[in-house]
């Protein structure tokens, strides 16, 4: 049977921008009334940005208030109602899953700058979800094209602590854990400008999957790249360069944030705790419902979906089920 609403079956003269505007209005209404537990609202993908092999950023248009309310660390549930073949025949290829926002931007390409100030036209607020091909569902997302549906709802969960003037932020990511670290850096810079120091370590398996370097370099005072195989930057894990950063004396508060595989985050948090540094992790677990219904995302006695994903490092280190690969 032909699924006539599948993006592949649209007429040739289809106006994607008009659809994006309509969907964005719909999302704004749903968000205002129901917040994060609204049904997922399908949005057409406006732009697909290649980041690295198997890593893409999907850009969708969202209401400005949704971006304004978003706090780094929080996640959105993302769903592609059709798989890349335009069918619904492989449900496990397009199940709803949690994703951190990777980037935000205002697209002013459709705005006439000469009249923008008069009409209040400020462009399209865009949310970028950076996805790495790690399995059936995320793999399917990396194969999405402009015009395909990406349904979103959120933002869900806890966020990183608020930074203050004079603080120092240490960001340690592994693989696609880069995305919340980038949002933390972006948010801190936007709010505090140069009045805080940001040091980042980004770990990758190899040079092929390296991404977000330029974005982070623009925001951080120092950036160290590590690869497991030494094909780029320092050879080894992010824990290699970390002791130097932690022992580098900073007057005032230092906060370490980390996101990545649990076997990487555990030693990172341990080193921070040992150095007396306040630390938090953005946790990732199998998280099917996001609304405290299924109970399958437990870490210790907490639900990752509502008590997380951001959790305190010293608490996590006390949990027996923290630190294994998932």
């Amino acid at each position: 049977m032909t699924l006539r609403a599948a993006p592949q079956n649209r007429p040739e003269d289809f106006d994607l921008a008009a659809l994006a505007d309509g969907c964005c209005e719909r999302l704004a209404a749903a968000y205002e009334v129901r917040g994060m537990i609204a049904p997922p609202i399908p949005l057409p993908v406006i732009e697909v940005q290649h980041e690295a092999e198997g890593v893409v950023t999907l850009w969708v248009q969202v209401p400005p208030e949704m971006v304004a309310d978003y706090n780094p660390g929080q996640y959105f549930m993302c769903w592609n109602p059709y798989d890349a073949t335009g069918s619904m025949g492989r449900p496990n290829y397009h199940s709803e899953k949690p994703y951190s926002v990777g980037d935000v931007k205002i697209d002013r390409s459709g705005v006439d700058e000469r009249i923008a100030a008069d009409t209040g036209g400020s462009g399209r607020t865009m949310l970028g979800f950076t996805v790495k091909d790690l399995g059936r569902q995320s793999g399917e997302l990396t194969r999405m094209a402009v015009g395909d549906w990406l349904a979103v709802r959120g933002p869900f969960g806890t966020s990183f602590p608020r930074m203050n003037s004079g603080d120092r932020l240490i960001l340690v990511s592994g693989g696609i854990g880069s995305t919340p670290m980038h949002m933390a850096a972006l948010d801190a810079r936007r709010k505090l400008g140069e009045r805080l120091r940001i040091d980042a370590i980004m770990g990758f398996r190899n040079a092929v999957e390296v991404h977000y370097i330029e974005r982070m370099d623009n925001l951080c005072d120092s950036l160290e790249i590590t690869t497991d195989d030494g094909s780029m930057g320092t050879s080894g894990f992010p824990t290699g360069p970390l002791p130097d950063l932690l022992s580098n004396g900073h007057e005032g508060r230092t906060v370490l944030l980390t996101c990545g595989p649990e076997p990487m985050m555990k030693p990172v948090l341990q080193m921070a705790v040992d150095a007396g540094v306040e630390c938090y992790a953005a946790m990732e677990r199998y998280l099917p419902c996001s609304v405290a219904m299924c109970g399958l995302c437990m870490v210790g006695d907490r639900l990752t979906c509502v008590d997380g994903p951001v959790m305190e490092g010293d608490w996590l280190l006390q949990q027996a089920d923290f630190g294994a690969a998932h």
Partner: protein
């Protein structure tokens, strides 16, 4: 202080508020989390003979005001794994273990494993409306002869109290209640979700990963109340034996609990409300119920049980 205590077969609870099956209760950590709240009792996720994965998401959304739609797909760790939880864990609150199976043999297998592990009572989920992906066939709970077969088989296999959980998606729920009770059930639990579907007009397809779903939340509370009332009235008329009813469907407040008790329920189960306020809802609802009872001079639940039926007695 009003006495909120409940004493029914297999369950001795400080208050009538139980976690509804399917919410969080599939593993020890999640059950402990709920047990540490103000809930009076726990109900496990429905446990089947073998482990089952969750359906593809979205699995649970608030589709519109007061309407929760879900199709989880009976995800559960399987009877063997959950028997370890029943055997090894000491929960702060009594637990009703919900079970399901594909047929009578499946129910018996799980029931025996739970009873051997020390479960104090069972809830037979006869009514999950989406037990197979995309299934449109009748569920066990819509076929009285199958209900009788399943309940009788479990009754013969275990000695612990059995509560039969009924579906609202039938013509006359008294028929299904009669089938369960005549086969030896010690009590009833109702209602399961109302079968539903919701379409996203932009995507041109249902918004739930499983396509078909069940509806819960405050919007179904009046439906649930009607089903409870029909069964309670049949009990009053002597058409059904007088057994405890565990009522559920969209309970959000202490007054909602009073409504169900006044229609004859002995205890209630709460599920969808956790979406908005997580496990904190239990203490809030308990406090509200207690203060309502004090204001109105009800010393205990028995003193208000079934009083709303008085006005319905003349109905033929």
């Amino acid at each position: 202080m009003a006495d909120l205590g409940v004493e029914i077969p297999g369950l001795s609870m400080a208050n009538p508020l139980m976690l509804a099956s399917g919410i969080q209760g599939g593993n020890a950590a999640a059950l402990h989390r709920v047990a540490s709240s103000g809930a009076g009792g726990l109900v496990s996720k429905s446990i089947g003979p073998v482990p089952r994965e969750m359906y593809p998401g979205p699995v649970c959304v608030e589709a519109m005001d007061s309407v929760i739609l879900n199709a989880m797909g009976l995800p559960n760790p399987g009877a063997d794994k959950f028997a370890e939880v029943v055997r090894g864990e000491e929960f702060a609150k009594p637990m009703l273990v919900s079970i399901f199976g594909g047929d009578a043999e499946g129910y018996v297998e799980v029931a025996e494993k739970m009873a051997d592990a020390g479960a104090s009572c069972l809830e037979l989920n006869l009514s999950c409306p989406h037990a197979k992906p995309g299934s449109r066939s009748l569920i066990i709970g819509q076929q009285p002869e199958l209900i009788r077969e399943v309940v009788a088989a479990v009754r013969a296999a275990v000695d612990i109290p059995i509560y039969a959980k009924l579906s609202p998606n039938t013509t006359n729920i008294v028929v299904e209640a009669e089938a369960a009770l005549s086969a030896g059930a010690d009590g009833l639990a109702l209602i399961n979700t109302v079968s539903a579907i919701e379409v996203d007009p932009f995507a041109g397809r249902p918004i739930i990963g499983n396509l078909l779903c069940g509806m819960s939340g405050p919007a179904i509370r009046p439906i649930a109340q009607r089903k409870v009332a029909e069964i309670s009235l049949a009990m009053l008329r002597g058409e059904l034996p007088n057994v405890p009813i565990l009522a559920m469907g969209g309970i959000m407040t202490g007054l909602d609990v009073a409504r169900f008790i006044m229609l004859g329920a002995s205890a209630v189960q709460i599920g969808s409300a956790l979406i908005w306020d997580d496990v904190d809802v239990f203490q809030g609802i308990a406090d509200e119920l207690s203060s309502f009872m004090e204001q109105n001079g009800y010393d205990d639940l028995a003193s208000m049980r079934g009083i709303a039926l008085d006005s319905l007695e003349g109905l033929s």
